[in-house]
Symmetry: none
Subunit: 412 residues, 2 copies
């Protein structure tokens, strides 16, 4: 069984946005054991989309398209699929009602444009979209199937998970499967990991690979097997070996984030955390808020973009601010002030320059305030962009993780 | 003149990495006026790469490949180009010497694998690569040209800028260029925009298209012309017409974000803004911190994930919290408290349920506190995921934008 992805949109061909949908779909297809041999991107042009779809259906069993399902005249996927499959476009009255209801619930009136969205190739099966207005659909033709999904990532992902993957497994009787286990690490770089586990990366089933993300390196174990149980049996000893060699750096698995792990550890220990940050532009608060147990463990976060803002917002005296910004003393005062202001058990401060990536920038200072003192840290990482921000945020979260882990140990 | 990009690598088809090369190359091609109609991704398989290259050379004047030029057996671009162009592979002795010298300078010995990298299709022209070991090349055939670049982004980018773009301009006598103007809107959906400007989307030069992002719709004007001045002349009347029809919804152009515009308007007016948010998980603080004039205009932000956290952090009395959460009264109290706590001219509060996308969720309440009262608002948008968050954040920022615009008007 082989699949092909066709992403549709002139904005992709102008380089205005990067196509992240293809990689995501590709990953999900591996989990049901479906091969992907090609992906194609084409602009909003009826003839070219039609040509591409004809070629794709000629060489692949399953064609998945994203994009071009919106209400405007440059949304042409419906027409192109009809042309490529030699079918008429017909108005699906049930779908019209569904779209009208979606708008009504939100207090809007449906426009004529939105009726266009209910015009599907004859014989198409609607894939109901509860998370957006763009209706998705699939068309079966001569043992091939073409599946059309919206380009908006969260809608596409929802429909893939809930509708398309189960449909493909059932429709093509897929048996073999790929099971992936991801160990998430922080506080250690990709090349240091390679030094510890390089030999394991030469195995064939399961395979072991690494991928670096901002402030985090993933170690991926991929097993191919007939059944889930068999795949897990392949993975288990390799995971154990990897954990031993990466002792302490593995903070979670699969889709867990460091904020998930930290907020859950805190909640389990009955502790709350308040944070204050300057350099990282709210990213620390953002990640913690998204953490699985945030409501219980995250007492609140403060974001400032200047020394003046920090001093005024936290009511730090000129003495506390001292002569130099940033400094460890300011971070300590900020951590204690955050802890007090939000009535939290722990207060974490991340105080640094606005652009830590400049070679002459001072370091970023960390302070974790507890009931009986502070734990200090600093970073001169100096990486630029999202990678640098991710690194700084993860350093702070990891201080909390290590402290909470230690607190949770039985006392001697 | 039309171009096509072929990215080569199984890691792309497994979704292990996102293809960012295509978008980058696409952007650079627009600057020399070359059209891009397709991009294709194919794995490390000789037959499939060859098939794809044959099809690409059949429909496009210029084919640019990335990847598959390394020293290992799964690097097959050289063989595939030779096959697609019906040529032999021949060893380029000069290139062998060059690669050997590159390794010698770094204290390494060249392996036999690296000799593979010097085997090029007969008649190929070498593109010297001073920033890596993978030699690049191009092959001209029947008025078509296929250009093969390494997949490593910084090597590919260097070679595109320094070798490929100048070569293409000279080889195809490219005079024209493409100029893009993007009008960024918020507070209006894509289909409502379409109703206002649909007729303009049927023009051919410049073309007008829309693209929806979280909480924002972009209207793109694309002009092709011989000179920059000519392109701007084509764009100008269309931009004027679009701005008239989208009156008030256009907040910025090109790379400007709403936070850029809001913080700059505030800074110009000598005003500062403090924010407090619950539902949006720090995204409001995050966007404002990244705003162009954040240091001057953004007094600070507070993020909470529970009603208890909000009440404790802002010291809101049980009377202020009332019986129900969320409520407009809480939002008003929070906005005033944020304004007071951070000594700001304006205080914006966004107070709502943790999951606004649930059908039975209460609305998100907005309050913008000024010196002499509050401006209120609410949203029942209920979109899920990043799109929903982006929408909620932009609604809040747009309240500040509209208020600041009004304040900036000359008083009667």
């Amino acid at each position: 069984m082989q699949a092909e992805i066709v992403t549709i949109g002139t904005e992709l061909l102008l380089g205005e946005i990067v196509d992240t949908n293809s990689a995501w779909i590709a990953q999900r297809l591996t989990t049901i054991g479906m091969n992907l041999f090609y992906t194609v991107t084409v602009g909003d042009n009826l003839q070219r989309i039609t040509d591409v779809l004809r070629a794709s259906m000629g060489r692949s069993d399953v064609v998945i398209t994203t994009g071009g399902l919106g209400p405007t005249v440059d949304d042409m996927t419906r027409e192109a699929v009809a042309a490529a499959a030699d079918r008429e476009l017909v108005l699906d009255e049930e779908l019209v009602q569904e779209i009208a209801a979606y708008f009504a619930r939100r207090g809007y009136t449906m426009t004529d444009n939105n009726r266009r969205q209910a015009q599907l190739p004859a014989g198409a099966t609607v894939i109901h979209n509860p998370v957006g207005t763009a209706p998705a659909f699939y068309v079966e033709q001569n043992d091939h199937v073409i599946i059309c999904l919206p380009g908006v990532p969260h809608e596409m992902r929802y429909l893939m998970e809930h509708e398309v993957l189960p449909y493909l497994q059932q429709r093509f009787g897929l048996q073999g499967m790929i099971r992936i286990r991801i160990l998430r690490t922080c506080g250690i770089g990709e090349s240091a990991i390679d030094t510890r586990i390089g030999d394991l990366m030469e195995m064939s089933n399961p395979t072991v690979g690494t991928a670096a993300h901002p402030g985090q390196t993933d170690v991926r174990i991929t097993a191919k097997a007939e059944t889930e149980a068999e795949a897990l049996t392949l993975i288990e000893p390799v995971e154990r070996e990897l954990r031993e060699r990466l002792d302490g750096y593995v903070f979670g698995v699969d889709t867990e984030t460091l904020a998930d792990v930290v907020t859950t550890m805190l909640a389990d220990a009955g502790l709350t955390l308040a944070v204050v940050e300057t350099t990282t532009h709210g990213e620390l608060s953002h990640q913690l808020s998204d953490g699985r147990s945030a409501a219980a463990a995250f007492a609140g976060g403060m974001t400032f973009t200047s020394a003046e803002g920090l001093a005024r917002g936290l009511r730090l005296t000129p003495e506390a601010m001292g002569r130099e910004y940033p400094s460890q003393a300011i971070a300590d005062a900020a951590a204690q002030a955050a802890r007090a202001a939000y009535g939290a058990d722990l207060g974490l401060a991340l105080v640094g320059p606005d652009d830590p990536a400049r070679p002459d920038s001072p370091p970023v200072f960390y302070s974790l305030a507890l009931a009986d003192g502070v734990i200090q840290g600093e970073s001169r990482q100096g990486r630029a962009g999202p990678s640098g921000m991710g690194w700084l945020v993860h350093l702070g979260l990891d201080m909390v993780r290590r402290q909470t882990m230690q607190d949770a140990l039985p006392r001697a």
